[in-house]
């Protein structure tokens, strides 16, 4: 009991944390569902002149993904005889964990945030890089060649694009002077462009290069087309997930879309001003925040999925060249330029 006492876990604080945890627990499947349903099912279908799910649930197939979830609960859980059982079992947990942790720092309002860490963005990117390990574990433990090839590709790709992601963010950090996401949001809300404060200063204007880099890199991190070679259906069946069945497979799905949700939210926060609307503060902001964030996030997700359903995929080597020969140099130049400007002007 003294443990609790020393940590001064007063009831109010503890229950807030509990509520927040539950919210995060709920938001991730919810985000995965929303993105999956709106974009993967509906938008894609319409881009293909189709309707997508209609019957499940009656109204425009809203039940589809819920049903998928429930169904996977009822599916047999197969572990191949050759697999490394413990590692095989742990891999999805690692991926889900990595997704969960990102949500810790994403603010949805002045106080609607689990914890505003000082290392904010850095933390988010660091934990998102954990999923690589999960992927490698999955691919290796499946003892399947497609899975291994897929995992290696995935790892190669995730690390190659981790960098542009980091570099893209640096510009924002320089401008905001903090890594805390709340701080970044405030900087944008209260900022001004050439003295005009009406729209604040969403960093998308000053950091457009960073924004573009971030989107491209996030696309690659999420292994979405045109960077989906790790799961390239026509080549590697479904890459490192080949051997996963039942709910364990669903965890990968949740991880993928949850991370997509998180990255969209991150991009919205970093470049579009997050929950903030200039001039709106206090309780109103608290109320509007989540909605504003959601709208911005969906706009970014739309972009990402639009590209996803239009482009063919690159080849592994082209992907790496893109990262190393284009994105990273641009990222570095962007950082230097931003730094110089900041020192010179600001």
């Amino acid at each position: 009991m003294s443990v609790l006492a020393t940590l001064a876990l007063d009831i109010g604080w503890g229950s807030t944390l509990a509520i927040k945890t539950i919210l995060v627990l709920a938001i991730i499947p919810f985000g995965a569902l929303v993105l999956g349903y709106t974009f993967l099912l509906k938008m894609m279908s319409h881009m293909q002149s189709r309707l997508g799910p209609m019957d499940p649930g009656g109204f425009h197939g809203w039940f589809q993904l819920v049903g998928d979830g429930l169904k996977f609960l009822q599916k047999e859980d197969i572990m191949p005889a050759e697999a490394d059982r413990r590692v095989f079992a742990m891999a999805p947990a690692v991926i889900v964990m990595s997704t969960f942790l990102i949500f810790l720092v994403i603010p949805a309002g002045p106080r609607t945030i689990v914890e505003d860490l000082d290392v904010g963005v850095f933390y988010a990117l660091a934990v998102s890089s954990l999923s690589v390990i999960g992927v490698l574990m999955a691919g290796w433990a499946s003892s399947n060649k497609f899975a291994l090839l897929g995992a290696l590709r995935a790892a190669g790709q995730l690390i190659a694009y981790e960098l542009p992601l980091l570099l893209a963010v640096v510009g924002v950090v320089i401008q905001a002077g903090t890594m805390s996401l709340q701080g970044i949001v405030t900087a944008q809300q209260d900022g001004s462009i050439f003295g005009i404060t009406a729209i604040g200063n969403p960093f998308i204007f000053t950091q457009f290069i960073g924004f573009a880099l971030f989107l491209v890199a996030a696309q690659a991190e999420l292994t979405q087309p045109p960077f989906d070679m790790p799961v390239a259906e026509s080549e590697l069946i479904s890459g490192y997930m080949v051997e996963y069945s039942g709910f364990r497979f669903l965890f990968f799905f949740i991880g993928e879309f949850g991370t997509a949700f998180a990255f969209a939210a991150l991009a919205a926060t970093l470049f579009l001003g997050g929950w903030a609307i200039p001039g709106v503060h206090g309780a109103t902001a608290e109320l509007l925040g989540p909605i504003v964030l959601f709208v911005k996030l969906m706009a970014i997700a739309f972009l990402m999925f639009w590209v996803r359903f239009t482009y063919p995929r690159l080849r592994e080597d082209q992907l790496q060249s893109l990262a190393w020969k284009v994105l990273i140099p641009i990222g570095l130049i962007n950082i230097v330029a931003t730094g110089i400007l900041k020192v010179a002007v600001g």
């Binding site: 293909q48 087309p225 070679m229 390239a232 026509s234 080549e235 359903f309 239009t310």
Partner: protein, 396 residues
């Protein structure tokens, strides 16, 4: 996964397929001398259109040797033809290249007609030509979308299916079968076109042209697509011919050879004005591009035919029981996938004595061991997609 057999002793790897070509060996830069990984792609693999199996030996992701294992769709056509009568064979051979069923019937019917000395009336010829071109469009259009899928673009595949439906509707409207029309008869076609078909056909052709433009925008013009396909899987013209590669695959290597124009005259192609497209590169992109142009060319042909559709009967006078006089004939046509030919040997019975079916994909695919060496796994998919084969056409 712990097979102790060294790779060289595994079934299917006794020899290096295609080792006859010094060119191929030269392309294989010797990398780290490491243990290779043998990977089965197929028989169930999305890249293999169903049931081709490709056993590849990989070093990392580079293909050291590829050995296509076919026969998963082998249905024994040549044997079955010996046990069936001519009309029964007409319906059976629909299913060789199942996408362009109608085009399969043409050479066979033509062979039988030649042996019997019968000529189908002009209107029948026109209808046959029309349907052949429509089935060509239906086949290649699917490819145009499917190729996107192979290189990772999901959406075009759906468009391929979407617009193809209009063509299938036309075929079904005329013949009663979406896939397997069984519409050709020795001496003509089964029936005339239904009322309103021509108008519908014109509308459908317009859609196809629009669709071609979409593909041009989304795939051909797309830098990523070009990066994925250009310079990948180059078939040198000479080697391609020696392997028996035909159709658009060969034309993409710069060989200006199209049986519709250059072969013995068949159907009404000599009445039509069309261009045979070729491309100099011989790579996957060239194959895609040539097919795209060919689709447009086919649309042009269809429109020409609709304009000049002859009137009259669609069936010549033929005996009720068809007995084909003894003789041998070789008939080849330009099918959507390439050269298709039948070598029909008749001994005067109601069924043929021997039919050698020369199908395009069989030869087109036989170049794979040579073509895939030294490529990377993603390129394997591109090459498989761009060669465009139908399993039934390989295995028969």
């Amino acid at each position: 996964m712990t097979t102790t057999q060294p790779p060289s002793q595994l079934p299917g790897f006794e020899v290096e397929p295609g080792s006859l070509n010094p060119l191929a060996d030269a392309r294989l830069a010797v990398e780290l001398d490491t243990g290779d990984m043998i990977l089965n792609m197929g028989p169930q693999h999305p890249a293999t259109h169903g049931t081709l199996r490709l056993v590849v030996r990989l070093d990392g992701e580079r293909v050291i040797a590829a050995d296509p294992v076919i026969g998963y769709m082998h249905r024994g056509y040549e044997k079955l033809t010996e046990f069936r009568t001519y009309p029964q064979i007409t319906t059976l051979i629909n299913r060789i290249d199942w996408l362009s069923s109608f085009a399969n019937e043409v050479p066979f019917i033509h062979a039988a007609e030649q042996l019997m000395g019968i000529e189908a009336p002009q209107r029948a010829q026109h209808i046959r030509t029309l349907l052949t071109e429509l089935s060509r469009i239906a086949t290649i259009y699917l490819f145009l979308g499917e190729m996107g899928l192979q290189v990772g673009a999901l959406t075009p595949a759906f468009w391929g299916f979407r617009d193809r439906e209009h063509v299938l509707n036309l075929i079904e409207g005329a013949t009663g079968g979406r896939f397997h029309p069984n519409f050709n008869r020795i001496g003509g076609v089964k029936d005339d076109l239904p009322w309103g078909w021509i108008v519908e056909c014109r509308a459908a052709m317009k859609r196809i042209l629009d669709g071609c433009d979409d593909f041009e925008d989304v795939l051909v013009g797309n830098e990523i697509f070009q990066a994925r396909t250009r310079g990948v899987g180059i078939i040198p013209a000479e080697l391609g011919a020696a392997y028996g590669v035909s159709g658009a695959n060969l034309r993409a290597s710069g060989v200006d050879w199209d049986l519709r124009r250059d072969g013995k005259p068949y159907l009404s192609y000599n009445e039509l004005d069309f261009k045979v497209w070729t491309h100099q590169d011989g790579d996957s992109f060239a194959r895609y591009w040539v097919r795209l142009q060919e689709t447009r060319e086919s649309v042009r042909m269809v429109l020409q035919l609709l304009d000049g559709l002859a009137s009259g009967p669609v069936m010549a006078k033929v005996p009720r029981i068809i007995k084909v006089p003894a003789g041998e004939v070789w008939v080849e046509t330009e099918n959507p996938l390439g050269q298709m030919g039948y070598y029909v040997v008749s001994k005067g019975a109601i069924g043929p004595f021997r039919v050698k079916i020369r199908s395009a994909s069989f030869s087109n695919v036989s170049i794979l061991p040579w073509l895939l060496r030294g490529l990377y796994v993603p390129d394997v998919v591109t090459v498989l997609g761009s060669l465009y084969f139908i399993l039934g056409d390989i295995d028969r």
